[in-house]
């Protein structure tokens, strides 16, 4: 499946970053500082452009994105009980590009291996996944694209 290629790359980079952080310690003066090996995922996961309206449903559906479990979003204040353990998503598209948002949804561990945020498009390297979710990603490729398209509408006013 061609779509998994960027994920594999992301995981490999994520792992190498973790090793760097663990074994080499803080950067010394004069030593070249390795910046985050991967900050974005430019290539869409599907040929079909993401649909923000569908993405909005993916965002709030508790069995899909369930983004409000951890994040809050004023634009969805009609929904009760927003989480507050992760950064608010208001204006997130003014802070990150679509390519950056895509990587943050698909595999945030490529940016921060210690993050609590699940990787929504990754099925390798997981421990004891329930049978019914085994070898499946949390979201389909199209759902990721739809979600990213919705996030892309969340510009600062």
């Amino acid at each position: 499946m061609k779509m998994t290629t960027p994920i594999v790359a992301a995981m490999v980079f994520g792992a190498s970053m973790a090793l760097t952080a663990t074994f080499s310690g803080p950067a010394q003066a004069g030593e070249p500082v390795e910046l985050a090996a991967m900050t974005e995922m430019a290539k869409p996961l599907t040929d079909q452009a993401g649909d923000p309206a569908t993405g909005k449903k993916v965002f709030s559906n508790r069995k899909l994105g369930n983004c409000l479990a951890c994040h809050s979003l004023q634009a969805m204040k009609e929904q009760p009980f927003h989480g507050e353990v992760a950064p608010p998503l208001d204006g997130v598209a003014s802070r990150y590009s679509i390519a950056e948002l895509r990587l943050r949804v698909a595999n945030p561990k490529a940016i921060n291996p210690e993050t609590q945020m699940p990787a929504y498009f990754r099925k390798d390297g997981l421990h004891r996944v329930m049978d019914k979710f085994k070898d499946k990603t949390i979201l389909t490729a199209q759902q990721v694209e739809d979600l990213v398209a919705y996030l892309g509408t969340l510009k600062e006013e």
């Binding site: 479990a69 609590q116 997981l126």
Partner: protein
Amino acid sequence: MGKTPSKLILAGCLALTACFAGKAFAADKKWGQYQVEDRRSGYTFAAPETRAMQDDNFQNPGMLWAEIGEELWEKTEGEAGKACASCHNGPETMKGVAVSYPKYVAEKKNLENLEQRINRCRTDNMKAKPWKYESKELLGMTVFVRNQSLGMPMNVKVDGEYAPFFEKGKAFYEQRRGQLDLACKHCHEDFEGGQLRANILSQGQGNGFPVYRLKWSGVGSLHRRFRGCNKQVRSKPYGYGSDEYLALELYVMWRGRGLPVETPAVRN
């Protein structure tokens, strides 16, 4: 001339400092026995009405399970023709027992929790059938026995023979699992006190178990809660009484060392 402005400001600052210091002290003491150093019982994360329910024995629905246990304590069962009371006399002899479970059992070369200890008494001493995990009988007896230690500080052993089990439990606690790729520590250490949708994340302490859970409309064991947590991160749960959960139980009870036994606690 009266007080200079600078003196007034100084006095104001001092008063303010005293006020803040007093407040901080009050916050530390706020939870009484339910907080030991930075360890906080789930009681301190529960809603006031949930706490009130636990505080009043007549309102606490978990006490119905304690009553089941109380009746069974006297009931003769099995080929040996014994009841718990035949060997242990009154239930007050169980005071202080709960605080040290799970315990290492040399002949098993393994840990044993209170549920399993009760069942071993049934099979070995009473020659009776063991109760099923999560049956009202086993929950009832476990609640009844633990309730005899109400308010006593939890104090499990983690050294000597316990050390490898402790390490195993700690490793479990820190291992990411399931499709959501979360470890116990991510919610119960990193996000303790945080709002996760409609829920406030607690420290995941075990001192109140078996608990009456409003969501369950009944009492459930710690292993049932482990299973629920594992399934929530879309991970395959382990079995009731499994080695994995016994080790995790030891680690979780150690995390709550010094917190009072609250069984049956009430949680949402």
